[in-house]
Symmetry: C2
Subunit: 410 residues, 2 copies
């Protein structure tokens, strides 16, 4: 007998027919002598409907009421699914975040989980019920309803799996897991059956739209085995598990392309201690996230500084940097957004010193110039001209032997 | 400074525009240095929408999940109204039944209120907030969401008024209060400014669709002054208050006509102790409510028994009574649903012995035959042939001097 947490996203519960299918599937897992806890998102575009109501009211409002409003979407879905399970002869019970309780801080709209007592849930499971949890929501100590922000229902599911020490956590979604690259860019991309948490974090952070970083981080922290499955199409699935459980047949697990990148360069600035801080702290104050930073070698006490930010921040950042440039007497400020960031991700990187070289070589073979480079334990990233982005993905994918007819075995 | 509970029904909050109007009105009451607590129903036909979802799932379900589903309607509305109040510069905070908490028993779909602690609400009021309460809902001691059944939001409002010892409780609705008779039947019916609880109970129970009996009973029990106001049309209003505060200018406060009546007669049954019980107990077991009962004088140890039930129960009741009739050897069972019940209601009845006679006289003057009579402290009711129903209302209304151009002053 296994204890399984199953999370169904909005598209899996978009209509009563969908909910019926989810109920059948959950009931059959239960019949196989498992304990099953279900976590649901709001039905289809219900959250959008509520957001639209919100938008019609003036934005001059606190998060508390927004969260109280949005939380109804998941509550509705959880109650409907519990009823549907009952109609199939199962015992089921819905729980809101307040009812569990899933205790959070009071940062409305992106609350963080503080505690998740399991006594009530365990009793419910032992009495033979299928608990159906409204995802995405929690409650503060003084009883206000909170929501967990983006990826919230995934986070609820992983938190429950951790708290209940579940055998694993299934995430049903409308994609069939992780690929070695975006199949739209790289037709020879292959499905990935197993991926380690840090690989998934790099992939998720770089734009693979399978799971939110936060849910993966939580899974890593509590060593929750995650599996992503498509609810409707096919039976492919990707396990997200600990590094030790992923055999390293492949040095690189995937290649990602990030398009939301732009860069700013300050030309000929004084090379003195604290200069980088002086330049970048106004951006930090404006909550603009700086990703890669390169400072050239100093010549005659002067240097150049280049950094990347997301495209959406470019306008604001340029304004701020122009102010700084005047103060520090920079020669010039250059801004560009015709760039992309290509990354190779894999737990094999740290033990294989030649990986970076192989990546640079494959780009060079296609006459693609590398403008910036950054590396981490699990990732090598290069900033290149935007127009070469897709070609670069295919070149690197090929260079690391990821192209194949067969599915990637690990 | 007054403490006022205001309840807005579904039609008053049918759209965001409606909610904005409600918010303006509540904010202006607050600006006049009052403390205001708002209770809302679900928006417009939201509850019907949820009921329809319910109906599409098989009816084989427990009340717990139905209540969890339905409660979202009021929660959504409360959060939207609280936001709208904030957008007007007011401090506002929404509360679900679970958040108050409004504690109930666990009879889902028609839970009864057990306790309503006010500590949290008082703190919220003292901090200058307008609390916006999701009506119609409560929570069991072990945290399950319950709903209060028909008239639930009115009941929430009255319960809050009682618990907070509010100065009064305003019920905003789509009718402009109580009339001396249904204006569609009796064009000379007049608006009533003040009515005593027991009068209102008789009126509500007999079909005046202004307030649910349960809310009025609760108001009477805790001596909560209620006022019913139309939200959109005009400024008429009806106060529902204690008997002592209503001056008895009029013996009769109103005349009601109940059409959902049918009767069953058992002819020639043995007149022995316990016979009525033997006949009526199968109806009680089947949850069929018997209203009026008449037993004729005994002749040769035999008698006839006639009773009224609602039309909707006639079929089932006739079946049950036919069985009983065989057992006790009744000569015949007669059923009829071409009858109505006309009632005169007023606290003056108990002190004016001639009231019944005047009512009978006015019916007789129109050649209307009275088939059954029942009286209580505040009401005289006659069963008559259906076709005379509306004529009878006008005749009795006239006989008690209720016809008038001017509005009834008390």
């Amino acid at each position: 007998m296994a204890l399984i947490i199953r999370k169904y996203g909005g598209t899996s519960v978009a209509s009563l027919d969908h909910i019926r299918r989810v109920a059948w599937s959950a009931a059959s897992a239960k019949e196989k002598n498992n304990q099953v806890v279900i976590v649901v998102s709001a039905m289809g575009d219900e959250t959008n409907r509520l957001m639209q109501l919100l938008a019609e009211i003036t934005p001059n409002t606190t998060g508390r009421e927004i969260d109280a409003l949005l939380a109804t979407g998941e509550q509705t879905c959880a109650a409907l699914l519990a009823m549907t399970l009952e109609s199939l002869g199962q015992k089921a019970k819905s729980f809101t975040g307040s009812q569990l309780p899933l205790l959070t801080d009071n940062i409305f709209s992106k609350a963080r989980i503080l505690d998740l007592p399991t006594k009530k849930l365990r009793k419910t499971l032992e009495a033979g019920f299928i608990p159906v949890i409204a995802g995405f929501q929690g409650v503060t100590e003084d009883g206000s309803i909170t929501t967990l922000g983006r990826g919230g229902s995934d986070t609820t599911a992983v938190a429950l799996a951790a708290a209940l020490q579940a055998d694993y956590c299934e995430i049903y979604t409308d994609v069939d897991g992780v690929y070695t690259a975006d199949p739209n860019i790289c037709p020879r991309a292959r499905h990935v059956k197993k991926i380690a948490y840090p690989e998934m974090l790099e992939m998720a952070g770089l734009g693979a739209k399978v799971l939110h970083v936060r849910a993966v981080e939580l899974a890593q922290k509590y060593q929750v085995s995650l599996v992503v499955k498509p609810f409707f199409n096919g039976n492919k699935q990707t396990w997200i598990i600990s590094e030790e459980d992923v055999m390293e047949n492949y040095i690189i697990k995937g290649v990602t392309l990030e398009k939301n990148v732009s860069k700013i360069s300050l030309i000929r600035i004084p090379d003195r201690p604290g200069i980088a801080y002086q330049i970048l702290s106004p951006l930090a104050d404006a909550a603009i996230n700086v990703d890669m930073i390169i400072q050239n070698a100093s010549i005659d006490g002067f240097t150049d500084l280049t950094f990347t930010i997301s495209k959406t921040d470019l306008h604001k950042a340029t304004e701020l940097i122009n102010e700084v440039a005047q103060k520090i007497n920079a020669l010039e400020v250059q801004a560009a957004n015709n760039i992309v960031k290509i990354s190779a991700v894999g737990i094999g990187i740290k033990n294989n010193p030649g990986v970076a070289a192989r990546m640079f070589e494959s780009l060079s073979a296609e006459s693609i110039n590398i403008e910036m480079i950054s590396t981490s334990e699990y990732r090598i990233s290069c900033v290149i001209e935007e127009k070469y982005g897709e070609l670069a993905v295919r070149a690197v994918h090929h260079a690391f032997g990821l192209d194949n007819e067969k599915e990637l075995s690990e």
